[in-house]
Symmetry: C2
Subunit: 226 residues, 2 copies
DNA sequence: ATTTCCGGTGATCACCTGTACACAGCGCTA
DNA sequence: TAGCGCTGTGTACAGGTGATCACCGGAAAT
């Protein structure tokens, strides 16, 4: 282990090739991003709770004390991490549904979008699923809130699709959350597949699609009792 | 905080009223149980990873070194905890289904059994759901294995119920795992309800029942494509 | 041009961690 | 009855932890 930054003021990274960051605000934002990124990388196979402030600071190339210039604690960083991960995802899924609302197969396209997102940012999803129930209270609450937003959006979509079949709001929410549960389980299972065996992931995605279709089929027969 | 067992050889508990445990094997088993029980209590609102060997030993009334007489590490204890929690549960659910196989409402009785089990042993379920994805690799694998057993049993049940409708084995598994996913989500949500508001729990259970019925409804319309 | 601000430094605090070691005392077995 | 085995003890060590401190130096504000 070489001493990192023992004497030099800044990290000498490959990224420091030219632009060292001009304004102070930019610099700060840069290290903040570095903290988030490093944290995400470090918890690839551990929980956030088992990660120490010092470890994150060390890996980000700053001294432990400097961490406090950005977050009051690791928990605060965790909360920040939650919406950094959720915001782009929600946007994506929303686009996938809106963009093809008229299109034939909403189910297939939604599953596809989610699959790509999981494949491209596995560490973010790992973080979310891992801390969803296992994390500290603050992080857990942040994730729960985001997921509720998610379910709500889906409920609205379903309301549009079932217009005229007098579904109860409660039943709509029931169906929506079943779908979300199925997708979340798929995500968690996806993350545990061996990346060298893409056929496993494909099988999971196929299963997810069939599950959503099964639910849709059930919805066709469902009658809300008021 | 009073010093626990500073001088006395054994803990002076209410349980030590008479039977102090006779054989040596019994004694050992007793402290082992105490370790498990204490661990379960301590992780009520933290992850297993954030729990230290010393803390568990301290709370169990033994010195840190003595811990090693029972487990090589906290992880090993975690794995032990998994099947201590799963074994009785699996038995219960199996009974609930077998016992009433002919009975009208399998769904209602299964949900009821699960609800009671969760209410009676919340800490075990908290442990399972929390470590299912958040825990160490060993514990995670142990839980995954147990859940797969669970899904397999349900698949067999479904096969019996759908006999004559030529369901693919794959589709049966798909439906079974959707049901399991729904139930697991319910369990996790149940654990986060405020115990002082039992109506919230009731609402969740009602939702779970409707979700299972929705799936059953879908299964009635489903046709496997071979 | 001077002062203020602020992200980062390095030393230090008291504490907690896992594990190693030698040893004690009881129960089981030879 | 003698003695080995095994659970539990007490002490110790080397290292990691979160938090606080006074301080530095360059960018920003005046």
């Amino acid at each position: 282990m070489s001493e990192r930054g023992g004497r030099s003021r800044h990290r000498d990274d490959a990224t420091d090739t030219e632009a060292e960051g001009k304004s102070r605000a930019e610099r700060k934002e840069r290290t903040r991003q570095r903290l988030l990124e490093v944290t995400l990388r470090l918890i690839e196979d551990r929980s956030l709770a088992s990660l120490s402030l010092r470890e994150v600071a060390r890996e980000a190339g700053i001294v432990p004390t400097a961490f406090y210039r950005h977050y009051a604690s690791m928990d605060a960083l965790g909360v920040d991490l939650v919406d950094d991960a959720m915001r782009p995802l929600r946007q994506m899924i929303r686009d996938a549904r809106r963009g093809r609302a008229a299109h034939s197969d909403i189910i297939a396209s939604t599953v596809a979008v989610l699959a790509r997102q999981v494949r491209d940012h596995p560490d973010q999803f790992r973080f979310l699923t891992r801390e969803r129930y296992g994390g500290v209270a603050g992080v857990r609450r942040a994730i729960a809130t985001e997921l509720r937003l998610f379910t709500t959006e889906l409920t609205v979509d379903l309301a549009r699709l079932t217009a005229g079949y007098d579904w109860t709001a409660d039943d709509l929410e029931m169906a929506a959350s079943l779908m979300v549960a199925a997708m979340l389980t798929t995500v968690m299972d996806l993350l545990e597949t061996d990346p060298r065996r893409p056929e496993d992931a494909d099988a999971l995605l196929d299963k997810a699609e069939r599950q959503l279709r099964l639910i849709a089929l059930g919805m066709g027969e469902w009658r809300s009792k008021p």
